[in-house]
Each structure stands twice: as C-alpha cells, then as structure tokens.
Amino acid sequence: MEKYSINHLRELEAESIFVIREVVAQFERPVMLFSGGKDSIVMFHLAWKAFHPLKVPFPLMHIDTGHNFEETIKYRDDLAEKTGTRLIVKYVQDSIDNGRAVEEKGLNASRNVLQTVTLLDAIEELKFDCAMGGGRRDEEKARAKERFFSHRDEFGQWDPKNQRPELWNLFCGAKHMGEHFRVFPISNWTEMDVWQYILMENIAMPSLYFTHLREVFCRDGAWMASAPFMQLKPNEKVEIKKVRCRTIGDITCTGVTLSEANSLEDIIQEVAASRVTERGSRADDKRSEAAMEDRKREGYF
C-alpha cells in the first residue's frame, strides 16, 4: 500500500525547503547568515537538500564578534569546505576599529548588539537583497509575529506594526531600491523539532552541545563559560563543571547548562523534561522586556 502522509518533521522540512527555493527564485543576491549554532546548521542542511545536486547557490555569512568558542569556527570552516560553499566572515572588531561601533563597557559588556552594525554594513557593501536567518517563532515573543518574508526599509529597520499579510504559500518579496528582506525558513520549528530533525537526519553537531568539562562561573542564576575577555564580579568564582550549551552564540551572552547529555537522544530527553526556555540563559534577552524587539527594529538578526 502506498502511503500519502508524512510526519511533522518532513512537513516542516518541505515547508522550509519551499521557502529557501522561493528566496533563490525571487532575489538576485541572497545570503544565508550562519552562526555555527544548531538552528543555522539545520537551516544550511535544508538549503543543501533544496538544491541537490547543485551546490548551495548563495554564500554563507558569519558576523564574528571575536568572542567565539574555538570549536564553532572550526565547524564552520569545515562545513564550508566540505560542501564547496562560499563563506564570508565579517568582524565586529573591524567595525570598532573604524569607528562604526563602540565597545560596551562594564561587567555585562557584550558585542552581541554591535553585530547589527557589522551586519547592516555588510549587507550594504556586498549588495545583498535578502539575508536568511535561523530565527524561530517559538524562541521569543517578538519573533512570534515575524513573517517568513520580513521586509526591511533602506535603513535595515523592521516595522512590526506594518507587516505585510502572508497568506497561503504566497510569499511576496517585492521591494524598492535599497530595501532588503530577512527571511526565516525555520519559523515554524520548535527547539524540540530541531533536535528531533538532527537525530532523524543524523547531522553532525559541534561537541559543545554535548556534555563536557568546562571552566564556568555563576551570574544572575545562569552558568556562563569563563574566557579571558570575561570580567568577574568579586563574588563570582570559576569552577569546573559538567555542562553543555543549549544555544551557541557569542560567549559573553551564551549561558551553559549543567548537563550529562552525551548523545542526541539524551538531549531530546533533556529538552522534553526542561521547564525553562532555551533563551532563559541568554543574557542578551534579559536586558529589558522588549530587548529582542528593540534589537530587531534596528536590524538585528
């Protein structure tokens, strides 16, 4: 008997591939933003599937804060080389050196917000008309109302009150000169979907996501990785713990969780049992109730 139904992961996959193909068909110079985190790894995997046997027909771009986990950089470079994909790296340090961005000060200083300057400059310099990102609607409330095809004006800004209606599978990428789009192919995926899909597709992941011993310290109830550029408060002390990353981003704002999860199956069980969202340990979202919206309006990922 032939079967005419697919499971939820295959349906999400089909939807995302449809969106990525629309991007390539509708835009002249698309780019895919790549951070080395699980969402961008899955998004790239979908792009690879969408165009096989053609190589992925757009470059990857990493906005590098300089505050990375070494492993992420190696994973990124290996992936680009293995798949023959062009990789563009833009450095926040360059934006600081040429006076476009000013380094934050204080204990919670992070280059996360500064990435926006580097990103918008890169989009303008390289004349990209569409940047795909791995944002998901379940991640954060300002993202819950984001479109698949999200319009940005000539300043790279998002106007959440005047978003274009998005109906059926009809995505409208029409724009004026100087404007661009942000497209989020995995909008409808949850953290659980991402991990289940990684397991189903057997996608190799950076080992940071699995349990390992790391020098960490506790700040505001969240465990943070210790690194030379992190400043400690007097009462904070570095300890060695068994941890894993639930999200991977800039070290200064990525929390780690105490975990023994050693395999994808373990991670799925841990996510299923977790009662805190993955962004619960992201320092960048804790700045204010509308932190994400404010960053997004200005042109953040």
Partner: protein, 423 residues
C-alpha cells in the same frame, strides 16, 4: 533509543486557527492546552504572572505571552496573528491565534489560509451571535476542512444539555447557508477544564471526544487533494558540473495529486506532452511524490519549462483563462479601485491584472449580499472579476487551496492588498 521508540517519527502536523476576544475564554482555553502540554515554560509563566499583575489583571493574561511588541503592550491590544506551538505524543500543533478587535477579518483570513481546522468559541450564555456567524462564514470561505465549535462556559448554564443542543441547532442553521465542512460540537468549560484535556464529570450526556482528543483525532491526512496532480515549478536546477553535466531538474512543491515516475504529464503553458523520468530528493530517488512534499522532477524530453510553469497530469488538467472570477478579501486601508491595475501572485507565477468588475459585497455578519454599495475597503469581502495579462492555470479554490488562491499586490507600495479565492 530510536525515533520509533520515541514515537516522534509517527507524529503528524495539524495547523489550527482560533478567533475571538479575551471575553469568550479563548485565552483560557489555549492557556490550558499549552500549560498541560508543557509548552509554556516556567520562566515564561513567571514573566507572564509578573506582567499580568503589574498591569492590574487578576488572572494570567495569555495574550502577554505573544503580545511582545511594544505597541501591543502599551495599548493592551493584540495587533497581529500570533503563532503558538505545542505537541502531544501524537501530534505537533501550530496555532494561528487571531485577535478579535482590530483588523479582524484580515487577521482571521491570514490565519485561516493555512489551517486544517478552525476553532470557533461560543459563549453558552449568549449562543450564536454576529461574531459566530462571521467566524463560520470566514471558515467556510477559506475552506478550512474541519470546524470545531466549542460551546464554552457550560458551567454558567448548569451544564445544560438543552442549552447545548439549542446552540448546536442554531449553528447548523447558519452552516446550512454556507458551504460548510466537517463540523464538530463540544460542550466545554475552559476555566474548569471540562472536556478540554480531561472528560467532564458534569456532562455525562456528552459522549463525544474532548477538545484535545478531537484535535489529535481529526483526519488531517485526508485534507490534501490527492486527485488532481499539480506541480508549480519554483526553480530550475542545472548544476553544469562534470558529474551532473546534463542534469536538468524542476524544483517545486507538489500542490496536489500524486506524481509517479513514468507518468504522462504536460507542462503549462505550452502544453507539450512528456513523461516523468525521475523524482529526486537530496540524492535519493522516489517512486512517487504527493503534497506537501518538496521534490525535484526530471522530465524525459527537453521542453520549455521555467519558474511559473506548472507540470500537470496529461489527462487531468487545470482550467485556464484570462478572465477570473473570485471572492476577494481586501487587506489594505487604500480601497479597491475598479479598473485599477494590480500585480498578481498565483503559485510561482507573477503577472498583472485589471479589476474589471465588483459584482457584490458580502455582509459577513448577516451573510447577505450587498448590491447597492460596491465600494470595497479594508476587511471587506466581495465577489470580483479580474482580467490578467496572460492565462492563469487554476482550479476552483473549493477543490484546491493551492492552485485556487492568489494575492493582489499594489504596484506602487508593494503591499499585499487582496486575498483571492477563485470560483
């Protein structure tokens, strides 16, 4: 532990839309589903309680979970469709939750356009009211396959079977005037949890499923049109590498029907006949493909096929015409202009059109046709005729949501101004 043991490889996806305001208990109903299925996390719940209390509310206001936009929180209103996610061991659910107050029709149409099911809440004390008719009309217009009528606040009418039956009869009367789909009625109390996740002990007379039970049981697999093979071409894949020198594949998503290797097909426009040589997906060959799969089709003969083309069954072909009759929902503050030119997006095809005639408008509160005032503004629904610059290949929306839908785009602003359903 394998995926099979987890069970997640057998999970299906169901998209449903909910409409209405806070008063009819919609937030309470969704909140219960989300919380009971652990889709609301502790840090979210804490933030929610904090925010609700600081705004002077007594109960947790679920809207604050997704009303994350500054403007929404400042004005205390929901501006846009909010997407929420939860899963049970059987299914993953995507809720398109549409606000009741402003932009009502525009939002509900948007949320309904991809939904398998519509949840309509009726306050047991008020019965079928104007808003109920509006919900029912839009669900029918958008051809949502399943409608769940939840008669809520049964606790406030002493869990009365008579009240429930009377509302059911009233709703059926409304539905009989619509092209209605599979309708289910449930007596619930979202606040007390009766028949939401657990069976009610107060209503032994109700023998049907609970709300969650029904959401898990709706036959979504049958919602796809499996009989009319339609494949809009999104993109042509030509690697021009040594290994794949002559490879020419048509990338797209199966809109409807089943495509098989060896099947006789034609490519529109042009209408040249050929056969399917292979169906590829990421290095694997498939024997057949069905909706909503994204695949790559290769054809035996080299014929002119590009983005905007549609590969269809050689015998079972869509209609084609330059004069199209459709129902349109107007989404823009700038009113519809008769004789005005608009851009059309239909599947992967982009073309232009002139709106030639407005036949009538629909009063969606009474479901009556309006013939004397034919001006069409924001949130209004009308029957119109358009003339397109080239032929459109389509099926009636009632038969095919993919090939029967289109959007109109304002050429000056690039805004999406109309949602069309072809008759």
């Amino acid at each position: 532990m394998s995926g099979k043991e987890h069970g997640y490889l057998d999970m299906e996806l169901l998209r449903f839309t909910t409409a209405g305001s806070v008063d009819d208990g919609k937030s309470t109903l969704i909140g219960r589903l989300l919380y009971d299925s652990k889709a609301i996390f502790e840090d979210q719940m804490e933030a929610l309680e904090q925010a609700s209390i600081s705004r002077g509310g007594e109960e947790v206001n679920l809207a604050l979970l997704t009303d994350g936009l500054r403007a929404e929180r400042e004005q205390g209103i929901t501006i846009d469709v909010a997407y929420r996610y939860f899963a049970t061991p059987k299914r993953k659910f995507i809720i398109a939750d549409t606000p009741g107050h402003i932009q009502y029709t525009r939002n509900m149409v948007t949320g309904a356009s991809t939904a398998n099911a519509a949840v309509i809440l009726v306050d047991a004390r008020n019965g079928v009211i104007e808003q109920t008719r509006r919900h029912a009309y839009i669900a029918a217009l958008l051809n949502i396959p399943h409608v769940l009528v939840c008669v809520n606040k049964m606790d406030l009418v002493d869990f009365s079977e008579e009240v429930f039956e009377a509302i059911k009869a009233d709703f059926k009367d409304v539905a009989s005037r619509l092209d209605a789909q599979d309708i289910h009625f449930l007596p619930i109390s979202a606040k007390l949890g009766d028949n939401v996740v657990d069976r009610s002990t107060h209503m032994p007379w109700y023998k049907g499923e609970t709300f969650l039970g029904l959401l898990e049981a709706l036959p979504v697999g049958q919602d796809w049109n499996l009989k009319d093979p339609r494949f809009p071409v999104q993109y042509v894949i030509r690697p021009i590498s040594d290994e794949y020198h002559d490879y020419r594949g048509y990338a797209g998503r199966v809109a409807s029907g089943v495509f098989r290797v060896g099947q006789e097909v034609v490519a529109l426009p042009g209408g040249l006949k050929t056969t399917i040589e292979a169906i590829d997906f990421a290095g694997k060959s498939l024997d057949y493909a069905f909706p909503p799969q994204s695949v790559t089709i290769r054809l035996k003969d080299e014929i002119d096929v590009s983005r905007g083309s549609m590969i269809v069954d050689a015998v079972n072909q869509p209609q084609q015409s330059q004069e199209i009759e459709l129902m349109i929902c107007w989404l823009s503050e700038k009113p519809l202009v008769v004789r005005g030119k608009y851009q059309v997006k239909h599947n992967s095809n982009e073309l232009r059109c002139i709106i030639t005639e407005v036949k009538y408008k629909v009063n969606i509160n009474t479901i009556e046709e309006i013939h004397d005032d034919l001006s069409v503004g924001l949130n209004q629904i009308a029957r119109i005729t358009i003339k397109t610059t080239k032929p459109l290949f389509f099926d009636p929306y009632k038969q095919n949501r993919d090939t029967g839908s289109l959007i109109l785009i304002d050429e000056a602003t690039n805004n999406v101004v109309g949602a069309g359903m072809i008759l």
